[in-house]
Amino acid sequence: MEPEPDQPKVAAGGGHRKHLAMLERLSKRSSSSAGAPPSDSSDASPVEAFLSRFAGAKLAAESALSACRSDDATASLAAAAAAIDNIDRLIAEASHALPPYELRAALATAADLRAAHRVAASELRPKKSFSFRNKSRNLKNPPQDHVTASPPQQPPPEQPKPSLDAILPGFGFRGKNGATFVKDLRVSNDKDGDFTLADLVSCEVYLKGKCRALYIHKLRDCRVFVGAVLGSVLIEDVQGCIFVMAAHQIRIHEARVTDFYLRVRSRPIIEDCSGVRFAPYVLNYEGIEEDLKDSGLQEETGNWANVDDFKWLKAMQSPNWCLVPEEERLQTVNISEFHEQEDDS
């Protein structure tokens, strides 16, 4: 009875369990009518051995867990985890020999201990992970400082934009609603320039002559007629428009419900587009043949129909584009009578 004061709970629990185990064994023995004595003896001793070992392991785990609250918590926590693992192992080894109740009780005890261990670990780890989090915050903070510091750096790059827009008023039409623009690039001095159409709504644009590059951004319900582009056309974010243009390269991004009448030396590409249709070039004005020839665009290559869709890499036809049915196509558009007007702007 001496160990009892040291481990009253365990002993009491063990006593209960022993008692109950005995009852179980008795009931089992009575239920198995022809139960052989040797099997009984072999049955009894493993259970008792298990119960004593289980009690020891449980005590070890409990003492380790309670030690977690005091000094050297990490080591105790590890010891507790090892002890609980030991309990699990004991249960696993003895499981085939244990009566159902005993097994259930042991498993419940192990689960309780695991839960207690988890609580103890979570009480401990916050300190750990807290310091770690602090560290990661410290690590994150400098970049955040960089980020907050970089906006002052970022505006300078953006500053050139307005000034450039101011420098190049003749190089494009921007931010208009319901206007008609006519531009004859042959009479202006910027023959080797690029041209920009941006932020236009319900506008008509007629560009005669040649330019080196054309940038088109954010157009809604516009009609755009362009002579020859001796370089590339980059179109982004247009909707409900009609474009008639000749160029070496044409890239179309984010266009919806828009028709393109193209002459193009290479294959036009679309990306993130839907409901776009293609047809051959139909523009005419006095002197267009010369402009096209000078730009190497006199030939009809038929590439207007060879559209590559970056969002559709299957062999079958992309659902994002089609040809304009012949009966719906625009007739040749002659803009010879359109002349530049100063009151456009």
């Binding site: 300078p156 790059p157 953006e158 910027d190 290479s266 590559d308």
Partner: protein, 185 residues
């Protein structure tokens, strides 16, 4: 670049360099490669995947990987990073609206560890177009000076249309890569 790969390169009879060309779509990457190789540049379709060109350049053999720049395929750039000796970033100097995109994509690329050792040549292309930003302005907008301590870089104005500046750029890149890789010559 590990010591082993350096040794391997030194031992190699054919002095090879791997050059990766990237940049936003419409910047003129393919045109630059074809121009420098003396090929016809009048019919070039937007690049759907990538092109590889092997070019003899002085005593070196350049393996130039020209990778398409459309938004959809930019995520595949990283498949080409391995073993890159020289990086060429091409900018459309007249596409002022997208320079912010351009800077973001470039700095995203430069974070890549596999490109940490590569020399960087920035081509401010389309200088022949009136209104194009000058190389110094492009350098400022792209915030290139942040790499001063971490990487060999240079910006060169060029025109793939006329061919101006292309040799100057490649001369620098090849010299810089060679001085790093073929240091024992």
């Amino acid at each position: 670049m590990g010591l082993l790969s350096i040794i391997r390169k030194i031992k190699r009879k054919e002095k090879e360099m791997r050059i990766l060309m990237v940049g936003l779509d419409n910047s003129g990457k393919t045109t630059i490669v074809l121009k420098i190789n003396g090929e016809d540049t009048s019919v070039i379709s937007p690049t759907l995947g990538f092109n590889i060109k092997t070019i003899k350049y002085h005593k070196y053999s350049l393996n130039i990987w020209d990778v398409g720049g459309q938004k959809t395929i930019r995520s595949y750039w990283r498949n080409y990073f391995e073993q890159t000796d020289g990086l060429v970033w091409v900018v459309d100097s007249s596409d002022i609206r997208r320079l912010d995109d351009c800077r973001a994509e470039l700095h995203n690329l430069l974070k890549e560890e596999r490109l940490a050792g590569a020399s960087l040549l920035v081509f401010a292309n389309k200088q022949d177009i009136q209104g194009a930003l000058k190389p110094a302005e492009i350098a400022k907008v792209l915030n290139l000076e942040v790499m001063n301590s971490s990487r060999h870089w240079k910006i060169v104005g060029c025109s793939a249309y006329t061919g101006e500046g292309l040799l100057e750029g490649f001369d620098w890149l090849v010299q810089d890569v060679a001085s790093r890789i073929y240091v024992l010559d």
